[in-house]
């Protein structure tokens, strides 16, 4: 018999069951909206002349056009974007770009040569993190307005300080720091002399396929179709949601609450293979995973020890067992997909050889050493594999796991012994990595330039000369050849053990078409995307 009390309690609880009827609201995403689940924390600014992190670069890449864009199929080519053609002068110091007619900013205003010149001048004058990509040609705040000019409505002229390889200049201009913004919009919103910097962090003024509606840090980014742009598909709105947890991303993708999940881990991707309801797209990106052996540590100074490390690591088994979907083996400093990449991987695990090299170097019984590494996956697993491999040749490794920024801070203070970390390429040219890995002008602690190799006290005049020569070579084919030679030499003669190159994977609902992933984050593109 139901008592009156129980009956009342039950009827009070009943409305809670109507929660079941909420389900209808959670159907698939609307056709005109593309919802992307991704970790949105790697961005501090959406001003293309300031932001320098991967997620921000991807978003800017979809909002802004540059004079030229990298060709995603053939890394040795550059495609016209805002510029339709270009010429270089005989002396390699004057470069003239003709602007394509009929392009419009999201405001509806036409894209003019004045906007182009202003944008490049602005990047130089602001002098934020990515500015070095174009200031390396000799532009600075004082000469920007005379070295970067718009003599007429269709022409932009750049005058570099020194003779410059056309290829290098073009690749550098294809980076986000070469983004063309609307001059009027930037100046209308300028505060003091910031050239609209504060405003452009949270707004957009480009001619790309999409424009910024809103960015809420640690929450979401919403892009709208640029009504005056080139976009032809049926997406009106892209919502990128900050979903930190990869498991949550996977669940949402499977349920159809998001169309694309961007940060799935290897185990999750393995589970999706053979699943017809999800498409996987994979692309090697320009980020390498490597060990840096600090040259201030006595045991690590002998080139034979460098070699021993390189023969001791089990590249292939590590890749196959730990990161089959998200990394590929790569041993040269320029990643695959960039012009001038060297894609042979001559090192295999050979413990006998490694042991012999170690003995030749005077360490027959090995030594003790510390490896600092990121605590985020897959680094701890990789570090343990390395620890075990090195253990087999007598090197006793202590692993020190820490937050990403903490490892970087230690490296930048040159305090690591060995650091297992990653390096992302800045722009689409082999010089981007060659520069920071090879050219260390001042190896003192208070150096004014501190490239990546400086952090590990590595300085080698021959390597630096090779890198400079390759950089300045005017003939494109010879230039690429010189970079390949540089990398072969570097591989055998440097204290950096490059092991793998990362891939990005986008897991998508089957009705999503036309997403493109690039080698650099700024070329992950939604420009051709539509939903069936």
């Amino acid at each position: 018999m139901i008592s009156r009390r129980n009956f009342l309690a039950a009827s009070a609880a009943f409305p809670a069951l109507s929660y079941l009827s909420f389900t209808k609201a959670f159907a698939a995403t609307p056709q005109s909206v593309l919802v992307v689940a991704m970790q949105l924390d790697n961005m501090t600014s959406l001003d293309p002349h300031e932001g320098f992190e991967s997620v921000g670069a991807e978003i800017c890449g979809n909002m802004y056009h540059k004079l030229v864009a990298p060709n995603l199929e053939d890394p040795d080519k550059v495609d016209p974007q805002i510029a339709e053609s270009w010429t270089a002068s005989e002396d390699g110091k004057t470069f003239t770009f003709k602007i394509r007619k009929g392009l419009k900013f999201s405001s509806g205003a036409p894209v003019t040569s004045e906007d182009c010149a202003f944008s490049l001048q602005r990047a130089v004058k602001l002098n934020k993190s990515p500015a070095f990509i174009i200031t390396q040609f000799g532009f600075n705040a004082d000469n920007a307005e005379t070295a970067i000019t718009a003599p007429d409505a269709e022409t932009v002229v750049l005058k570099t300080e020194n003779p410059t390889a056309l290829g290098l200049l073009l690749y550098c201009l294809s980076a986000n720091v070469g983004a063309i913004i609307e001059k009027k919009a930037a100046l209308d919103h300028a505060e003091g002399d910031d050239l609209g910097n504060a405003w452009l962090r949270q707004n957009s003024a480009g001619s790309g396929e999409f424009m910024l509606k809103i960015w809420r840090a640690s929450d979401s980014v919403v892009l709208l179709k640029n009504p005056n742009g080139d976009y032809k598909g049926n997406i009106e709105r892209i919502i990128m949601r900050h979903i930190v947890d990869p498991s949550s991303q996977l669940l949402m993708l499977k349920q159809g609450d998001v169309d694309i999940a961007r940060n799935l881990l290897t185990e999750q991707l393995k589970g999706l293979e053979g699943d017809d309801s999800i498409k996987l797209m994979q692309k090697s990106t320009a980020s390498i995973m490597l060990m840096s052996l600090n040259q201030s540590v006595e045991q690590l100074q002998n080139p034979k020890v460098w070699e021993a490390f390189k023969w001791a690591v089990g590249y292939r088994s590590m890749q196959k067992n730990i990161v089959p979907m998200t990394y590929v083996v790569h041993q040269a400093i320029v990643p695959e997909g960039l012009p001038g990449a060297y894609n042979e991987n001559p090192y295999e695990q050979d413990l006998e050889k490694a042991k012999a090299l170690l003995a030749e170097a005077g360490y027959p019984d090995g030594f003790e050493i510390e490896i600092d590494h990121y605590s985020a996956p897959p680094y701890p697993d990789i570090a343990q594999a390395i620890q075990s491999d090195l253990g087999k040749i007598g090197i006793k490794v202590t692993l020190l796991a820490a937050e990403n920024r903490q490892v970087l801070t230690k490296m930048r203070a040159r305090k690591h012994q060995i650091a297992l970390s990653s390096w992302g390429t800045d722009y689409f040219d082999p010089n981007s990595n060659a520069d920071v890995f090879c050219i260390n002008q001042d190896n003192s602690d208070d150096a004014t330039t501190r490239p990546f190799c400086w952090r590990s006290h590595f300085q080698d005049d021959k390597i630096a000369a090779m890198a400079e020569e390759a950089r300045d070579e005017p003939d494109p084919e010879t230039r690429i050849q010189k970079y390949v030679e540089l990398q072969k030499y570097y591989m055998n003669n440097s204290p950096f053990v490059v092991m793998m190159q990362s891939s990005v994977v986008a897991a998508m609902r089957p009705n999503v078409e036309g997403v493109r992933l690039g080698t650099l984050p700024d070329s992950h593109s939604y420009a051709g995307t539509s939903k069936a």
Partner: protein, 337 residues
């Protein structure tokens, strides 16, 4: 009267001292942490020139004590500085993220209290019976199963499996940007805007994270209630009440419960404060844009203005809830004047 003013003054003084101490400790820890905040500001690949410029702009070249002095004078003028990561004023960031956490915490506390307190009383009254054992097991599970396991399980079962709950996030994408924030409590803002569909959506998104959080608080509240109640039930006044022939229900609810109400208030206040700190794991799994996520991210990047700002806020919450508990003591406990 003067005594009361004096005690009020000393309480106010101790609040200020607490906050000051908190700010010093957090600030100093932040500055000696082995993370260079400049990397967060300009990225790892920036040239040394840009790095140095940013270091100067952030005032990091100055001695620690000078940096703190600058910070303190700013804070006293109501300026908590800017976040390096979001470029927003810390105060406006907190105003954005805190309500999301507060909404979660408030509902979780209400549910945990409504269920946990009666459960605790029940367990105490039926001490060592099967009911008591079952309740104990439920509470133990609440304390010992890691939150992310439970949260993920809940998502897998109710969202992916049964499809009766919405996925992670605070809102369905259809309702995104439709509701103008007034209070920051999405449910209340939806009601205020008169949008019932958005309201149902917001409530639906709250159900799972609130259930998880309230389960954890419930475990604690139930155990404490049971312990307090057992103590109270041993009192002579209970024997007296029973001897007078009062019903068991009356003995427990009218005689025993009021005596533990005061202790319970402290427990509830502390639980609430704990929830308001931001349940980082729950917020991570449910992609909840709350204070916990914001604070963790700032901390990992050495972005100290938000860290100190949030710490001060949390400190303030603890102090305020303690004060509130003190005041309620006076109201509920006739022995305290």
């Amino acid at each position: 009267m003067i005594r009361r003013l004096k005690s009020l003054g000393s309480q106010f003084g101790s609040v200020l001292a607490t906050l000051f101490g908190l700010s010093v400790v957090t600030f100093m820890i932040g500055r000696v942490m082995p993370v260079d905040p400049v990397i967060a500001a300009v990225g790892d690949n920036a040239s040394q020139e840009v790095v140095e410029k940013a270091r100067l702009a952030m005032g990091l070249d100055q001695p620690l004590i000078v940096q703190y002095w600058h910070y303190l004078t700013q804070v006293l003028q109501g300026d908590f500085g800017q976040s390096v990561l979001t470029h927003n004023e810390v105060a406006s960031d907190i105003a954005h993220y805190f309500p999301a956490t507060m909404e979660l915490a408030t509902y979780a506390l209400i549910i945990a209290t409504v269920i946990g307190v009666p459960l605790g009383i029940w367990a105490a009254v039926r001490q060592d019976s099967l009911t008591d054992q079952i309740i104990r097991v439920i509470c133990l599970a609440g304390h010992s199963v890691p939150v992310f396991v439970l949260a993920l399980l809940a998502l897998i079962i109710f969202y992916a499996g049964l499809g009766i709950a919405p996925g992670p996030g605070r809102q369905g994408i259809i309702y995104q940007d439709m509701i103008t924030p007034v209070t920051g409590f999405l449910t209340i803002d939806c009601l205020y805007a008169g949008d019932w569909d958005a309201f149902r959506d917001a409530v639906a998104h709250l159900v799972l994270p609130v259930s998880i959080l309230s389960y954890f608080s419930l475990a604690y509240i139930t155990r404490m209630t049971r312990a307090f109640m057992l103590d109270a039930l041993r009192g002579e006044f209970i024997v007296a009440a029973r001897a007078k022939g009062l019903s068991a229900r009356k003995v427990v609810l009218n005689h025993a419960f009021p005596t533990i109400a005061v202790q319970l208030l402290t427990v509830l206040a502390l639980t609430y404060a704990g929830l308001l700190e931001g349940a980082v794991v729950t917020e991570t799994v449910f992609a909840w844009p709350g204070l916990g996520l914001y604070l963790t991210k700032a901390l990992m990047n050495g972005d100290m203005n938000p860290v100190v700002g949030c710490t001060l806020l949390i400190g303030l919450i603890y102090v305020a809830l303690n004060l509130l508990a003190d005041i309620l003591y006076r109201v509920f406990d006739p022995r305290v004047s």
